[in-house]
């Protein structure tokens, strides 16, 4: 189990700490900065777990801080530790917006409170922000007032330890709505010759629930493995047979989804937390063609100039549009005096990234644009300094469209006690993932 939680700045100096056990001496943290430094000097490989003197240092990085935990034991569940540290950052972000050095210093009181509640003796306890916010609030003055009434003293919500630990009772909305956002992120690796080496779709369904009471929801998708419902499968087979059903891999569900029900009956049912949450995510590794195709011819005339000819094409339906397309093309670090010729979007040389950034606000389906650029290279160079080979990176968003073809067939909302009318809304969007890259020759 974790012995303590430390928040450290980017040098490894402590900002805030909470110790849960005595087995790791308080002085052990002092070694952390030098451990980091040593690991960096030895090689650039700094794994997220370091050992020194029998003390295990496990840490993640977030913005400008390290979140660190220590333990004496090799039998600590390291997957749980990392999972928890990320969750911790996530929860803090909901309290203090951005989790960074300054915000931690400013909000130490609430962070101590949260650390007390989320971890007990190094064992993770409650991490549902919705529930934590019920009894750990920033507005402490409220507490003083309610304390006087003595009846309304804050206490842990009774739901906390029940099987639906993520939703308090007694939520009411005037208008009952549920919004579904289906977002698909495309990761793709393309060789310089245009061959797709790897492609994957990372999809997720986010829900914003604004529903009263304890509603029970049932989600129908056009997945082969997921039965839309018993009746529709039999009666409307003729009509639905035409629509292609897809098969999702690696479905992962929020803890509110009844997993065993899904396993046995392939039905997604759940009582949602209030507000925003990620209901499910999935992955598809079916081969897909590049949605934004990009071909760059880069000619380096060493010691004089570099010429780039780039073409990009939106390989999507004519009706669709790709928004905020950004194509980042690497150029040598010592390039200068850029000259551009282009017809669409905006072209900029970004010296701090050593790259050219081509931005196209709207990119209609089927269209093809191009640009030509020329940059000067210094006539004197260090003889053959090895250069990092960096790929071209592409970013885009395509609304009203999913690459996989996933569709929400229905979202049934049923609140047994209140029986209200409710409105589900669905939105689709496809965007680039964090790794949509084209290798340069």
């Amino acid at each position: 189990m974790a012995s303590c939680i430390y928040f450290c700045d980017n040098k490894g100096k402590v900002i805030l700490s909470r110790r849960y056990r005595d087995d790791v001496p308080p002085s052990a943290i002092e070694k952390f900065p030098s451990l980091l430094l040593e690991a960096e000097q030895e090689s650039s490989i700094v794994p997220p777990c370091l050992t020194h003197n029998g003390v295990q240092y496990l840490f993640i990085q977030h913005n400008d801080i390290y979140v660190l935990t220590m333990s004496r034991s090799l039998s600590i569940n390291v997957a749980q530790v990392f999972s928890f540290l990320y969750k911790l950052v996530e929860v803090l972000a909901e309290y203090v917006k951005t989790v960074e050095e300054e915000s931690i210093r400013d909000n130490f009181v609430i962070i101590y409170e949260l650390l007390d509640e989320m971890l007990d003796y190094g064992i993770p306890q409650i991490t549902e922000t919705k529930m934590l916010k019920q009894y750990i609030t920033q507005k402490s003055y409220k507490l003083i007032k309610s304390a006087k009434k003595s009846k309304n003293v804050i206490r842990p919500p009774s739901q906390l330890t029940k099987s639906v630990s993520w939703r308090p009772e007694g939520i009411t909305y005037k208008k009952n709505e549920a919004f579904l956002d289906v977002t698909e992120s495309i990761n793709m690796l393309i060789t310089a010759s245009g061959q797709v080496l790897r492609s994957e779709i990372l999809g997720k369904v986010n829900v914003r629930s604004r529903l009263s009471g304890m509603p029970d929801l049932k989600l129908g998708l056009n997945d082969k493995g997921i039965f839309t419902s018993v009746e529709s499968a039999s009666s409307s087979e003729a009509t639905e047979g035409k629509k292609s059903n897809i098969e999702l891999e690696d479905l992962k569900f929020h803890q509110c989804v009844r997993l065993s029900k899904f396993e046995n009956e392939k039905i997604i049912t759940f009582i949602p937390p209030d507000g925003d949450f990620e209901l499910m995510n999935y992955r598809l590794s079916t081969p897909i063609k590049p949605l934004i195709w990009c071909d760059a011819k880069i000619q380096v005339h060493s010691q004089s100039r570099i010429e780039i000819h780039c073409r990009a094409k939106a390989q999507i339906k004519k009706k669709s549009t790709a928004n905020n397309v950004e194509i980042l093309i690497p150029v040598p670090e010592d390039a200068d005096s850029p000259k551009f010729r282009y017809s669409h979007g905006s072209l900029k040389y970004v010296p701090e990234k050593s790259a050219i950034l081509w931005k196209i606000k709207t990119f209609n389906g089927g269209k093809e644009y191009s640009f030509a650029a020329q940059l000067g290279l210094p006539s004197m160079t260090d003889a053959e300094v090895p250069r990092a080979k960096r790929p071209i990176q592409v970013k885009f968003q395509i609304p009203y469209f999913t690459t996989s073809g996933i569709q929400v067939r229905y979202l049934k909302i049923n609140e047994p006690k209140l029986q209200y009318q409710s409105y589900p809304w669905v939105r689709y969007i496809t965007q680039s993932g964090d790794d949509y890259t084209i290798r340069t020759a």
Binding site: I15, R21, D22, P25, S27, A28, K31, S44, I45, V46, P47, P48, N53, G54, F59, S71, S73, L74, S75, N77, A79, Q80, F82, S83, F84, Y86, F108, Y112, E113, D116, Y121, I123, P124, Q125, E128, A147, V153, P156, T161, K162, S163, S165, L189, R198, L202, K252, F253, Q255, R258, E263, E278, R283, S285, E384, P386, A388, K389, R390, D435, R439
Partner: protein, 705 residues
């Protein structure tokens, strides 16, 4: 109207004085005893802030304590936090807080009850512990599950603080009965507390038996609890061995739904349980459970890098047991541009391991990918990619394919400046696998090495030099002027490390008939007199003896020289079967990331009796170890710290170092006398395979006996 105005003014003009930001002790002290509650609270906050910054504010203890009786929950929390931090420095004052603790533990608000019992059981002061009995007992039986789940953990805390007291009070029995609690969160915390106690002292609670008798409860609770509780319960289930295949199947069926949980730690914990039960159900490789496992493992690759790292290290273990489980998922493990380096390296390792050697298309694909990696920038990454290229060649094991690999490596060697070491090692591995009759390959490699002008400066690592000399010794006819090349190495003999020295000995002895006798004589003298390495010296002496009896046993030396090398079948290191089984049992634990079973670690002996003194000693020990390690050679320090990724070259050294530290432990007499040797043994067994290839020459020598 007037009333409202009055109220507004009253609110606007705050009477209570504010505490300035400086946080001077005297100011805080005045603030803490102020007549205005608001000022007092401000002062408490400022005090905690100073504490957070690392300043010693323990002198304010009595003043803080005056504020403990309050109805403001937040203030109470802060005071408790302070008390917890500084109780040890003011044990005599703590007694003043006891009354509040005891009465808070009976508060109507469950939050307060929890806080009281949680804080009380954390304070290392005997006097407080004397009062803990009644509140702890009461809270263990509390109506509110939120309180109970806190109380069960308090038992583990109490046990860590004072084992005897904990046993005397008999709360352990309460803890055990909490396993049958109706609330899954209480059950999970009870398991966690029991495991903690069991780890500290196996004789106190019969944990394996308890798990045995509660399996059905655990399976039931699994569906109804928080993600963290699931991880704990799954962890307990993984300890359980099913009675028969039927039960094993049932456990698998109950656990598989959780492979689809969004929390990666839950997924990994579920994988562990399934793998534990798999051997008993005798599933064939076509069984759907394997595809479920495979997709669960793959899904771990879309998590943050730290988690991916854990997953990749665990996949490495799983792959050794079930090599085909991921063979269709090669592309998932392709390196991403943004991956941190430590993830990239693990991915390369995984790629080579999971590629199916009977699938030419897949192997060719991977070859192209690895080639791409080898053109990258980061040195560690490129080195690893070059090694992977040779591993892949050896794994696919077909002359044409190996030729292709070899060509890539030779091209790399020619175009890039700084990777000769890695390339040479990779090429030698390929040659050793292909066997000496692959004339074409041998010529290619040798002509490349022939062209190098000053090998002494070109090659950096011991391992690469050793391979170079092996090459000279193995194929002398391919080189012009072998004599001069060997002489250059002999000249720097004393500066070389042991692998090169041994390799040099072997090669020179092997070629003694074509080299001038003085050279051999010179080398043998050097090796027997000017090296500290016992192995090298022994080897030289043995050769010397063999050579001096040559006249009578002519065959012996010939046999020595002309022995053919055993072919290397794989350059991927593997675990010993026992180690593999242990690691499979410890999946998702830190030990599985280090590939070091928990049992190899010396347990920090929990010092019963005098806590405070024990703690100081602990601290002192830590500092002393620190100091000693600091004074040692820095290179060695790193080897010692994480000798798992480092090559085993320095095994001898880390061993020596290990014993120094253990020696220190003996002085303090605190840590159990256990396994320094075992520890290094584990290292050895892990690296054995590796070592075998590295010192292949040594191996040959051994083969002769």
């Amino acid at each position: 109207m007037e009333k409202m105005l009055k109220k507004f003014i009253q609110n606007a003009t705050r009477v209570a004085p504010k505490i300035s930001k400086k946080g001077e002790l005297f100011e805080l002290r005045n603030g803490l005893v102020s007549q205005y509650p608001q000022t007092r609270k401000d002062a408490i906050k400022k005090t905690i802030q100073q504490m957070t910054l690392g300043k010693d504010v323990s002198s304010l203890f009595p003043d803080i304590l005056k504020n403990i009786a309050t109805s403001d929950v937040e203030q109470k929390k802060l005071v408790y936090l302070y008390v917890m931090n500084y109780a040890e420095t003011h044990p005599e004052l703590c007694i003043l807080a006891v009354n509040t603790f005891v009465s808070d533990a009976q508060d109507t608000n469950p939050l307060i009850r929890c806080m009281a019992i949680r804080t009380m059981s954390m304070i290392r002061v005997d006097k407080i512990l004397e009062y803990v009995e009644i509140p702890l007992r009461k809270t263990l039986q509390d109506d509110n599950p939120y309180v109970r789940k806190t109380a069960v953990i308090c038992v583990a805390k109490l046990f860590a603080l004072n084992k005897e007291l904990c046993q005397e009070l008999g709360v352990l029995e309460d803890l055990i009965s909490a396993l049958e609690d109706s609330n899954p969160m209480v059950v999970a915390n009870a398991i966690a507390a029991l495991s903690d106690i069991y780890e500290a002292d196996e004789s106190v609670v019969p944990l394996p038996k308890l798990i045995q008798s509660h399996v059905s409860q655990f399976l039931l609770a699994l569906n109804e609890c928080t993600e963290w509780a699931r991880i704990i319960i799954l962890g307990a289930l993984a300890e359980y061995t099913a009675k028969d295949s039927l039960e094993a199947q049932e456990i698998i069926d109950r656990v598989t739904p959780h492979l689809q949980h969004v929390n990666a730690a839950v997924v990994l914990a579920s994988i562990k349980v399934v793998i534990k039960n798999l051997p008993q159900v005798q599933a064939n490789t076509e069984s759907p459970i394997f595809s479920k496992l495979s997709s669960a493992l793959v899904s771990l690759m879309s998590t943050p890098p730290e988690m991916q790292y854990v997953a990749l290290r665990n996949i490495r273990i799983v792959l050794e047991k079930y090599p085909h489980i991921l063979s269709r998922e090669l592309r998932i493990f392709y390196v991403k541009f943004n991956d941190p380096l430590y993830v990239k390296l693990e991915k390369i390792d995984t790629l080579v391991r999971l590629v199916d050697p009977s699938n030419l298309k897949q192997c060719t694909l991977l070859l192209a990918e690895l080639k791409e990696y080898a053109m990258e920038f980061e040195p560690e990454f490129v080195s690893r990619a070059i090694l992977a290229l040779s591993q892949l060649g050896v794994k696919y094991s077909e002359p044409k394919f190996i030729t292709k690999v070899l060509e890539i490596i030779i091209e790399l060697c020619n175009t890039r400046d700084s990777f000769q070491d890695d390339c040479l090692v990779a090429m030698c591995n390929l040659l050793r696998h292909a066997g000496p009759d692959q004339e074409g390959m041998v010529t290619q490699v040798c002509s490349l090495a022939e062209a190098w002008s000053s090998v002494e400066n070109l090659l950096q690592t011991d391992y690469a030099k050793c391979n170079y000399i092996w090459l000279l010794g193995q194929f002398p006819q391919k080189f012009n002027n072998v004599e001069r090349k060997l002489q250059a190495s002999i000249d720097s003999f004393t500066q070389e490390e042991s692998l090169t020295q041994m390799s040099l000995l072997i090669s020179v002895v092997k070629l003694h008939s074509i080299l001038p006798g003085s050279m051999l004589q010179n080398l043998l003298e050097l090796a027997t007199t000017s090296t500290d390495e016992v192995d090298v010296r022994d080897m030289a002496i043995m050769y010397w003896r063999c050579l001096s009896v040559e006249s009578s046993h002519d065959g012996l030396i010939n046999e020595l020289c002309n022995s053919s090398l055993p072919e290397i079948a794989t350059t991927l290191d593997t675990f010993s079967p026992e180690l593999l089984e242990t690691l499979l049992r410890e999946l998702s634990l830190l030990s599985s990331v280090y590939f070091k079973p928990v049992s190899t670690m010396t347990k920090p002996k929990s010092s019963s009796g005098n806590h405070l003194k024990g703690k100081q000693l602990d601290e002192l020990q830590f500092m002393a170890q620190d100091e000693i390690l600091k004074n040692m050679n820095e290179d060695n320090l790193l080897d010692f710290d994480n000798d798992w990724p480092a090559a085993s070259n320095s095994n001898y050294k880390s061993e020596a170092q290990g014993s120094t530290v253990d020696y220190l432990n003996d002085i303090f007499g605190l840590s159990s006398p256990a396994p320094p040797v075992e520890n290094s043994m584990a290292d050895l067994s892990l690296n054995k395979k590796d070592e075998k290839q590295k010192s292949s020459n040594t191996q040959d020598l051994l083969d002769l006996f």
